[in-house]
Symmetry: C2
Subunit: 191 residues, 2 copies
DNA sequence: ATCCGAAGAAACGCTTGCGTTTCTTGCCCG
DNA sequence: CGGGCAAGAAACGCAAGCGTTTCTTCGGAT
């Protein structure tokens, strides 16, 4: 052991360890004992920073959230939605899939976690989708009276449903089909 | 205690107790100790019938499943879908909502349970929706080349998404809007 | 140089559920 | 009417994980 870590340095090491455990074993792997072990520190150090293990998990999740699903303007509603849904599909079929399902499961059982996610993540996503639609309206490939509260979640819903409920496969054909057969017609200006 | 229960009688009492616990406390409440207590029997009796607690939970869930979401022919695709989605919406906003979320969470963590549900429940629902669409095709209010694998889950997906992920409210306006703005146009024969 | 706050280590008791075991008690069948 | 099988009751050891506590050991700020 080189030197005893303190303050921010130790803090970062703990968060990194928690993130590792979350990614590899899901939310239930983020225990005080496991994090302390993985960060080569002790539980007392953790309890000095978080009131309980759920708080540490919430913190870890919010920290991780900034990463996923970038969001840029491709110049068309179709292109934007393809990019967004392909981002989700990649997450749902990649190595993170299990962890995502675990997070949803954890949120079901932990009201505080559910609130945190709703406020810090889902709200963010909703706003992004609303912007995407707004751009389309200004551009003219989305009708002005589109029901935003439906359009913003319609595509994602199917992917989540497959991930969490039906278990049906998620692939690029599905994404393209959703965009071209469902979403674009739904938001298109009426002839 | 009148007389010592045996065989089928005891069996039924155990299943009823498990069902109670499932409904009131979710899947995690279906523990061997709790079921034995609620059925006024002992754990040894349970272990004589099920290899472990997860098997008992699976059994209980499958037994319960036959109840939900009836399915009749209303004479139109619109009517059928309204009935189906209103059924889901009622489940998702009623007292069973927490239990349903818990079941999904449990299935995430228990591969065997997930398989059981996929085989005994979700397969059943998929078949029902395929029939519903087939009736529409024959009747003429659903186009023959409708992408069944999307149409059969599109409406439900949004409701599940709100229940499990976004937490957004589910009400009858949403159901009607989904049917009239999304589903009916999507399956309607092309002009 | 020293000293106080934090890090680190290691126990502790508590709780919950598991799955097993032992023993007694009753009921039904032959 | 009696013997065997299953019900019922209670205890056991095990495993995790929690949150706490105690004690030692650093090391940076004064």
């Amino acid at each position: 052991m080189a030197t005893r870590r303190r303050g921010a340095e130790l803090d970062d090491a703990i968060r990194a360890a928690a993130l590792d455990l979350l990614a590899s074993g899901g939310p239930s792997a983020v225990t005080m004992e496991a994090v302390a072990g993985a960060a080569r520190t002790s539980k007392a150090v953790l309890y000095r920073r978080w009131p309980d293990s759920r708080a540490l998990l919430r913190d870890t999740l919010v920290g991780m959230a900034r990463a996923a699903i970038p969001h840029e303007d491709t110049g068309s509603y179709r292109g934007d939605m393809l990019a967004v849904l392909r981002g989700w599909a990649a997450l749902f079929t990649g190595p993170q899939a299990g962890m995502l399902r675990g997070v949803v499961a954890a949120a079901v059982q932990d009201e505080q976690l559910a609130e945190t996610l709703a406020r810090d993540l889902i709200g963010h996503r909703k706003a992004q989708m609303a912007e995407l639609l707004e751009r389309g309206v200004e551009r003219g490939d989305v009708r002005a009276d589109v029901p935003v509260h439906i359009a913003r979640e319609l595509g994602q819903s199917v992917l989540w449903h497959r991930l969490l409920v039906s278990g049906d496969p998620i692939d690029d054909d599905l994404v393209v089909e959703l965009v071209d057969e469902v979403l674009v017609p739904f938001v298109a200006p009426r002839a």
